[in-house]
Amino acid sequence: MLRYALRRTPSMLLTLFLASVAIFGLTRLVPGSTVTAIAGSNATPATIQAITRDLGLDRPLPEQYWRWLHGLLTGDLQRSAVLDQPIGQLIARGLGATVELTVAAAVLAALLAFALGVLGATSRRAFVRGAARSVMTFALAVPPYVSGTALIVVFGVLLPVFPVGGRISPLQDPELGWQYLVLPALCLALPVSAVLGRFLADGLDQAFTEDFTRTATALGVRRARLITVHALPNALPPVLTVAGIQLGNLLAGSAIVEALFAWPGVGQLLIQAITNHDYLLVQDLLLIAVTAFLVLQLLTDLGQAGLDQRTRLGGRS
């Protein structure tokens, strides 16, 4: 396994290098300028020249690229040109908020999926089964931008139960922190819970048609036990596989939700950096995202090999 991981390293590094070139080039192609974000549109040529020089943007592009790369290789993410803050600190703070939101959304998604999936497959009333499946279809069809706005209107404006934006860390103030977390986490969780719920409901449906459940029913096993002991263990494995993929979707979808609920995570940081043309911050964030996906991909391959010994990582058949 270690050998496989080491063998993958050169191709991962090559991918990272190519990604860094593409990211650097693309940020420079986007119309606009960091200098405008700092100096404003009313700046005189002397001001523009002074700031351009201060930021090193007057240097040739290969030199700028090398300075960025050299910083990354030596562990120096440098400072944000617009915010004048260490990029490492900005990303660490944003990442903490994003992870908090993602974890909360994942937990909510799991709970909702379980409830909707089980109800959608096992309720004795056709109306309840239909309603649960309709809720899942609706949650899947409505984009987070719309569901988030609806949540704000209902739970923030009409029934002022939860705050509609901002964040207080649950670690600092648990009593308030969870209230700020509820609406963005729910908004992020809804489509994921719909996907997982549908997989679970279909898995349970399938399990109920199997011989062992029919036998258990004939033997008088209680329905609750039938579901929890016999059907669920058979329905859950494919759901867990899908949940792994959906975790990536949660991370990707958090950018929109963060903007909607003023949640100060990396998604909002990235949008702010793009708006301001904060080149280094955008480059670092995008490269970190690429790195995270590469590492996740590697871990998935290793995990699959661990779970299924028939898979020979990179071996000859």
Partner: protein, 518 residues
């Protein structure tokens, strides 16, 4: 065979019991609720302000609109304008005296002022503040005026003489806009690590992308002020969420939105929207004189006659504002009602001029900042008006940064839509500092020795000579129309009716000295 009775794992009674139990637990625990405002100190005097963009400490000295909510909280100016007379009033400077034929100004400074660090305020801090404004990398919009100060001589701890390279009629604009910073912590201002001034509120903490917090300055030199115990400025980048934060009581004040952004609050008597009396949002149509036929004055005049300014004011600004053909607001010493009404909507006259200039049937691009919803509406109205004249307008929406970059580099297309400030101050600041009107290197590419001479005269003279220069500038602006002025409005301040004592400077910096909640 009898099947065993199956008991439901989850039944209605259990669900209700669990729900009631959870509710009772929350109620008895006295849980603080963030949504009702009991969660923080809002009710005890912390004013919560929300805005779309984060603050920008690095641009603090360059009059960045993102900092308008906090500049005057932390810092004090040397003098402040009376909004009605545009005469300077004492702030950190208590008295001043001109000498040497208008080339030297001596300021007497307050002696009872300390910075938030506890250090006494002295003339050396004025020196440091002016030097900071003069630094091109600080990007102050009044750097041109600050550059006239060639010598700064302190005369004791609280007196300073400013020697100018030539007389400057707009020097008090510089004093109005320039925050007096603590020279010992100035280096940390750009990073937002420290913001130390003499103002009514002390900087507490800035979390980028999230919020910035201030606490009451107990040693403020205005006795008994401020009333508020603190101020929080939150960043909510999404417009609907920003407005919702106001409606839910999470925010008390949202400055700077356009009336079309605030339609969701119409009819809600818990909030009031006030337009500042500064009229510093002057909307104009810029003309690129490098693009034919905009190089012909008749063509530009035709466009000026063809635009229905009153409709723009009524539709986009809900009737708030003044239609005008010149940049000056009614409070400006350069304002003249007869000249401001020069380009009344007159499509027939516009068609005559277009025919004379050979501009009918021509197609032109009109760029605007799509990040501001109001400009999109305005651009469509202009497109319609000019289309009626036979000028085909293609709209070019640009993101804010791109628009700004093209504006500062002179790379906008034939026409662009934007607003400018500065006209509410001394008229000289407009023609020396504002990019669309600068007499050298303006955005339109307009050059005229007579315009330059009038601008310099307006800048370096006072009294009758200055007023003559203002009239000459107005005459040239009306005749040349490289900037087609349309509507002047103030900035909006939308706040809960619980907020009292809200004020602002002539540049719309928020002033909360007298503000109270409840």
């Amino acid at each position: 065979m009898t099947l065993p009775v199956q008991r439901k794992f989850v039944n209605r009674r259990r669900v209700l019991s669990a729900a009631l139990g959870t509710g009772a637990a929350l109620a008895t625990s006295g849980c603080r609720w963030a949504a009702t405002g009991s969660a923080d100190a809002g009710g005890t005097g912390v004013l919560r302000i929300a805005q779309l963009a984060d603050i920008a400490p690095k641009s603090m000295l360059s009059q960045n609109p993102n900092d308008f909510a906090l500049t005057r909280l932390v810092f004090d100016p040397l003098t402040e304008y009376d909004h009605r007379t545009l005469q300077p009033r004492p702030a950190l400077a208590t008295a001043w005296e001109w000498s040497d034929a208008g080339r030297t100004l001596t300021l007497q400074l307050r002696e009872d002022v300390t910075f938030h660090t506890g250090r006494p305020f002295t003339a050396e801090d004025v020196v440091a503040s002016i030097h900071a404004i003069q630094d091109p990398s600080r990007s102050s919009q009044l750097a041109t005026t600050a550059a006239l100060v060639t010598d700064l001589r302190t005369q004791g701890a609280h007196r300073i003489a400013l020697r100018l390279s030539k007389p400057a009629g707009n020097l008090f604009d510089l004093f109005e806009l320039m925050p007096i910073v603590d020279r010992e912590t100035l280096a940390d201002l750009a990073s937002g690590k420290q913001m130390v001034g003499t103002g009514p509120f002390r900087f507490a903490k800035w979390t980028p992308g999230e919020s910035v917090e201030f606490t009451r300055n107990p040693r403020y030199w205005k006795a008994g002020l401020p009333h508020l115990s603190g101020v929080q400025v939150r960043t909510i980048p999404q417009l609907q969420s920003l407005v919702a934060s106001l409606r839910t009581g999470q925010s008390h004040l949202v400055p700077g939105l356009s009336p079309v952004d605030l339609l969701g609050l119409a009819g809600d008597d818990r909030f009031a929207t006030t337009f500042t009396d500064t009229s510093d949002n002057a909307w104009y149509l810029g003309c690129n004189l490098r693009v034919p036929p905009l190089d012909r004055a008749e063509f530009r005049q035709a466009l000026a006659y063809g635009i229905d300014r009153a409709r723009i004011r009524d539709v986009v600004f809900r009737g708030a504002g003044t239609v005008t053909s010149l940049p000056w607001p009614t409070s400006s010493p350069a304002y003249r009602a007869d000249l401001a009404a020069h380009y009344a909507h007159d499509p027939a006259r516009a068609r005559e001029l277009l025919a004379a200039a050979g501009g009918r049937g021509i197609g032109l691009q009109l760029a605007y900042n799509s990040s501001l919803p109001a400009t999109g509406y305005m651009a469509q109205l202009i497109q319609y008006d000019l289309g009626e004249l036979g000028v085909d307008i293609e709209l070019l929406p640009l993101l804010g940064n791109d628009f700004g970059t093209r504006l500062s580099s002179g790379k906008l297309p034939a026409l662009w839509l934007n607003s400018h400030g500065f006209a509410q101050l001394n008229p000289a600041s407009l023609v020396t500092g504002a990019a669309p009107f600068r007499y050298t290197k303006n955005t339109s590419g307009f050059t005229d020795p007579a315009y330059g001479a009038a601008a310099v005269q307006a800048w370096t003279t006072t009294g009758t000579a200055a007023r003559q220069a203002y009239d000459e500038l107005s005459r040239i602006l009306l005749d040349q129309q490289f900037v087609i002025s349309m509507v002047n409005t103030g900035a909006t301040m939308t706040a809960t009716t619980q907020l009292h004592g809200l004020a602002w400077t002539m540049f719309d910096f928020l002033v909360l000295d007298q503000a109270r909640l409840g």
